[in-house]
């Protein structure tokens, strides 16, 4: 906005405030000392149409109220005993937050608009409102309502639930959750979301709830096979931290099968590293991979050897390093593998490699 237009706008705002102030002061003066002329002038100052009538719903209701059963001349009705029970008023006040929570009502309505009155004009704002409302719910720690809100959104088919889940998880931030945490349903729902982003975010949420084997092993284990590498890595880390025995089983199975074709070198190294982290003696099993002669000429096996070698070098495993050096000098080792093992040794300062 230019300075001149800003000034002009500021001037208009100032004029508007003056005009509003004048209306207020006229009203006050008239109320304190009313007379026919003052009231007439006051009315002329307000530029507004007359009220044609209430909306159809109100019209219908008011016509019922003013119908035959109610006699306008029935003045005997005056003095009607109004029974008020204090307890019932207390209960009434509590009805603000009983029944269907306000936020859920709001979400249902927004989804109805998307479904029944679609249009680009409102669509973007409705998506934002859905997110805002869901975030309000989780921010006040009402996990049950938050879960119902996401379920409503998922069922509607009109909106993607993933951005809503992500926004809710952002509110949780670095919170540590235990298995009784009210927000937990949202984290579990995110872990099972078909979209990757909620899963990625949910895996970052820490806390003792991950120790709950019944729930987490069922939800976490499928994530080890997720398509997205970041999700697999985070799932493995959670498994290593909270369910190490399950991770050991998983890697043992992997080694037994020797099927590393679909696993990247980096991921394999990460997996071996976690594996070695769980128990020191696991270093021996990694050394076995390096010294094993099985499938040396097989690309998948070479990958597992390189991954195991990297882990042993990074951990400074003397026996492991000796095994790597021996293999890097052996004529029985495939030339490509020999070369890459030497490069690894050099990289870690073992010049004699």
């Amino acid at each position: 906005m230019s300075l001149s237009s800003s000034n002009a706008e500021g001037g208009r705002e100032s004029d508007k405030q003056t005009a509003d102030g004048e209306l207020v002061s006229r009203f006050v003066d008239t109320a304190l000392a009313p007379d026919r002329d003052a009231v007439k002038e006051l009315r002329s100052l307000f530029d507004a149409p007359s009220m044609e009538g209430p909306n159809p719903i109100d019209s219908e209701r008011l016509s019922t109220i003013l119908g035959a059963d109610f006699k306008l001349t029935d003045r005997e009705f005056v003095g009607y005993p109004v029974g008020l029970e204090v307890d019932s008023l207390h209960a009434l006040r509590d009805e603000w937050s009983s029944g269907m929570p306000l936020e859920l009502r709001h979400i249902v309505i927004l989804l109805q608009v998307l479904k029944d009155a679609p249009g680009k004009e409102l669509s973007g704002r409705i998506h934002e409102k859905l997110k805002e409302t869901a975030v309000e719910v989780i921010a006040r720690g009402d996990g049950k309502t938050a879960d119902r809100a996401v379920a409503l959104i998922e069922d509607s088919d009109a909106v993607e639930a993933a951005p809503v889940l992500v926004a809710m998880l952002e509110v949780l931030g670095d919170d540590e959750l235990d298995k009784e945490a009210p927000e937990l349903p949202i984290v579990l729902r995110a872990l099972q979301s078909p979209a990757p982003e909620p899963k990625r975010r949910a895996l970052k949420i820490g806390g003792s709830f991950w120790d709950d084997t019944d729930k987490i092993s069922d939800i976490l284990l499928p994530l080890l096979d997720a398509q997205e590498q970041k999700i697999r890595r985070r799932a493995y880390m959670r498994l290593a931290a909270h369910h190490p025995a399950l991770l050991e089983q998983k890697v043992e199975l992997l080694l037994e099968r020797g099927d590393f074709e679909s696993t990247s070198l980096g991921e394999l190294q990460f997996l071996f590293d976690l594996f070695a982290e769980i128990r020191q003696e696991r270093g021996g099993e990694l050394r076995k991979i390096v010294t094993s002669s099985r499938g040396w000429f097989n690309a998948a096996s070479r990958k597992s050897i390189r991954a195991a070698a990297r882990v042993l070098l990074e951990r400074g495993d003397r026996a492991g390093i000796a095994a790597i050096e021996a293999r890097s000098e052996s004529l029985l080792t495939a030339p490509k593998l020999r070369k890459s093992l030497r490069a690894l040794l050099e990289l870690h300062g073992h010049e004699n490699g």
């Binding site: 044609e52 109100d58 006040r93 029944d116």
Partner: protein, 356 residues
Amino acid sequence: MKMADEPDSSGLQQRGESPVTNTENAEPAAAVVADTEKSLEGQQGDDEREVIETYARLLVACHNFQREFRTDATPTASKIRESVADVDKFVADYADAFVGLMQTKFLVEHPFVHGANAAVYALILADALKLCRERRIQCATAAATADADELTTPGPAESVDFGDESHRRQNLDSLVALMKKCADGADLALSLVTLYEGGFLDAQPLPSAWYDGEYASHLATRIIAIARDYDLLVQGFGEFPGLNPDLAAQALLTEMGSQYDERLVKLFVTTIGIYPVGSLVKLSDKHRAIVIRSPAPAGREELFRVIRPTVKTLGGDGEIIDLSDEEHVDLYILELLDEKFETHPGARWFFSPFND
């Protein structure tokens, strides 16, 4: 604003008693009392003006909001919310005065006046129910914006059958109109909910298709319905000239339990009174009087009561009479006078007996 621990001189004035009994210090004490009374009167005078100003600011905010709604501008309800918050500061102590101001009908039959009045009635009812401040303001702001959609689609109302698809469609159209125009967020949520639920006013469940489950209307929806309808019944609209306040209150009472939440109607009528403040009445002794106080909403421990307001007789000494007092048991309101605002003695009467 009158604070909770402020000395209440009104009772003393009515009984003609002095608050000082020590005769030795009578003279200086009398001066102190005079100063105190003067100071309290001055304070009261300021409050009167401020009470009227807050209502006037709300009227102007509703006027501007609706004008912007009719034009191409994108209105914001934030000014309404601010004004409602200002009214809320006074509503606990001066509900009667606000009701009196609205009864004067200086401005009538405009949608913006209806919006402002509905907001004040909603605030009064929410306050009587002891809802927290934030909820009171939410309720009142939603009440003030509830008819905004009508401004863009004026015309004769189409017939709607309660509870069916046409009803739902109508309500949905209203909230879409509001959403398309309004930019603000937080307060709009309650407006949308109350618009969507409009028409289901008692505590009966809404048809399951509406919420994918059976739920009663939200408390705010029920509060706003009473606030809006009472004002419509009193103000009038189109060809309908409006009812006297006592009849409007009776109309609500006859419909409680069916159209309106029974407990809320009772609370509302008890709070504003069958004869709201500002009503001109003829007493059974043929004197004309103005209602200056409804039964106080606080301390209503009894299960049943007959609404008996405090009145001030017009002409002569202007005697203040609490019709609930046993000594006035034979005196009652004979009829409500249909006199127009021009003959009202002005807003200062709403604050009696303090200004007597």
